[in-house]
Assembly symmetry: C3
Homo-oligomer: 282 residues x 3
């Protein structure tokens, strides 16, 4: 399986699929091609949420505002998967998740990316660089087609475990690549301070605050306004706001059959201040 | 083949695909993931139109405003196909179509859903319930990934004819599930009263009035205004309104190279009054 | 492999996929289903850009404003590929590209479509007509499902090299089909006059002017305003305009992390006047 993810819309991903089919019999599965344009952080978030649900696969990821500059092309191997992506950090959070490593928000201090994890090899994230000759690449504006898709097909054909045998792939120097880490929320006795990481297509504002802070609470104050805590959207009336734990395990600001981002007045990157308003009840 | 249909946009469906690929080698085919958000009726309409064109397959359908409440998860078997869907009626019109049963609009009085159809077993619609442990499900807001996708994969692997062998699947009690039926149009000697069921992406307003009422007519009055009847969009000038029979066999309000919903001033759920303005000619 | 391209949005393409799966085990790959509605020229452009990246395949193309009229259904064979499409010109530019023929803009005077190309058989574009009985087709408004998908499946099953053996397929009379050619740019010593062919989803305005005119230039005037020439979007500051060579090898008007069409004030079909403002430098 080779999955594809990009911010290309259509029909550019089809050219990548053509290149993949020229070089591989892999099954092709689209993750998304409508990631917010050139928004590396949003793509990194969604890949971290979605890719761990796949069996081992090659993931071709192209959100690449630096296309045509001297940014490197990477292959990141973790947990039996390989991500082929530009060197802008987009692949690293998903790679850590695939390796079973502690999540970015609370994973600091666990040693270098290639250091030993909690239980050994499973937690290793290995970073490789894909050499390409800038002058020989057909286009300076579409490396997804001309650099990343060929590399993804070749990694798939070599086998993820043997990707070192792909001719132009070599281990990257330690620390030579760009990392990306999501902001760490602060959880206190009386509340939590976090941030909206992304807004999904339903308008749910997904924060970095861990879901368990809501356990046994009936309501919380969000940026000063008291809101109901509920387990499911439909547990409140249509049009009513709620604070819930989303499918990603984090606190989410939502409206049943409406848009949470609009009701709560937040968008990606905005600060979210939670205050516990009541003692445990529910 | 497992088809997928939802109102999720992206990238949530990719998580369902990952789960399916973990459990099955089925081919995955997207029906649509941009159904109107949480609009069970629109999804039910489109599934009824599209699924009968497929060879026997498992259809994973997740338009699920009640996610996280105690609504059941169903498998509906009909005509060699199986639909895996929440218990909100979304799967029933398609299931009747797959079973070759009389259509909802004119199918009343044919006996219970599991009663004998006009020619026996082919017309049977069988409803099963998928048991799941609410406390064990990973998320209360994404049963598509955590309940329906695993069930769809398991039904596919067991075989649609043997889905009773899937451990947590059992026949639902007669009448215990939610049905959904589209409104029945009224056809008279002088006209017809119907309703816009959905508007498609071209802006064509698709009604529940059967297409044959237009046979041999050159024009009809629609909500008081005379409009041309034409066999094809391009049979009228660009920008001109027309009344035609859509690919679903029903009366459709359209504009050649324009939007019918805007020109006719209608949207889903609106009443449509047709009056025959001329004797047969064409 | 059968690829699918249309302006249908969803879920209509799923009905075509169902029909294909009924008749064929081909792998199905979506090219795009959000081509601008009923815009034959835009679809023809994108197909010419994308299809040459595929291995030999059957390409089902349905952008069909004339559906239900007496326009013919075609199969166009070129370079080992077959395009199944309405007779409105949409398939011809891609077919020429697949055959390795000179591009439309500068390919006039090379003889008839089926005449010998520069190096013989490789450059042949062959046009076939698919007979269909208008009265027997289920719908007058969805030939993608009822005419083109069955033909594409049958061509795939017969084999592209043997498509003559498909019963209702026969060579079209020379010159009996509709062609489509893009406007030819004029390149002079002091500048070039071209046209915006399409705007992509990023807002890049793609012209018909060949990319090499920008070689060794640091800036050009575009419709009277001097603009920087750059090899990559990120070679200029975010929000800054640039003129570059896109992945299709043509001059493209862009803004780094912004929309070129808005900044340059152009849309598809608009004239673009380039003037060389400086002697070669860079």
């Amino acid at each position: 399986v080779i999955t594809l993810a990009s911010d290309f819309g259509t029909p550019y991903p089809a050219a990548m699929k053509g290149v993949l089919l020229q070089r591989s019999d892999a099954r092709l599965v689209d993750v998304a091609h409508d990631f917010p344009r050139q928004d590396v952080r949003a793509a990194a978030f969604w890949l971290r949420e979605v890719l761990p649900w796949f069996p081992p696969a090659v993931h071709l990821v192209v959100v690449d505002p630096g296309v045509g500059t001297d940014r490197a092309a990477l292959v990141v191997r973790a947990g039996g998967h390989a991500l082929v992506a530009p060197d802008n950090g987009v692949a690293l959070p998903a790679a850590r998740a695939l390796a079973g490593r502690a999540d970015d928000e609370n994973g600091s201090g666990t040693g270098g990316e290639n250091g030993a994890g909690r239980d050994g090899t499973e937690q290793v994230v290995e970073v490789f660089e894909v050499a390409y000759d800038d002058a020989a690449v057909e286009s300076d504006t579409f490396h997804g087609r001309d650099v990343f898709a060929p590399a993804a097909a070749d990694v798939h054909e070599a086998g993820i475990g043997d990707l070192e045998t792909v001719e132009r792939v070599a281990p990257a120097a330690e620390g030579a690549w760009t990392d990306l880490r999501f902001p760490v929320p602060e959880v206190r006795a009386g509340g939590a301070t976090g941030e909206v990481l992304v807004v999904d297509g339903f308008g749910n504002a997904i924060t970095n605050v861990p879901g368990p802070v809501l356990t046994d609470r009936a309501a919380v104050r969000v940026n000063g306004t008291e809101r109901r805590v509920a387990r499911a959207y439909a547990a409140v009336d249509p049009g009513e706001a709620l604070v819930t734990v989303g499918s990603h395990g984090r606190v989410e600001l939502a409206v049943n059959r409406g848009r949470g981002d609009e009701r709560f007045g937040v968008t990606a990157g905005d600060r979210v201040e939670l205050t516990w308003t009541r003692s445990a009840e529910n």
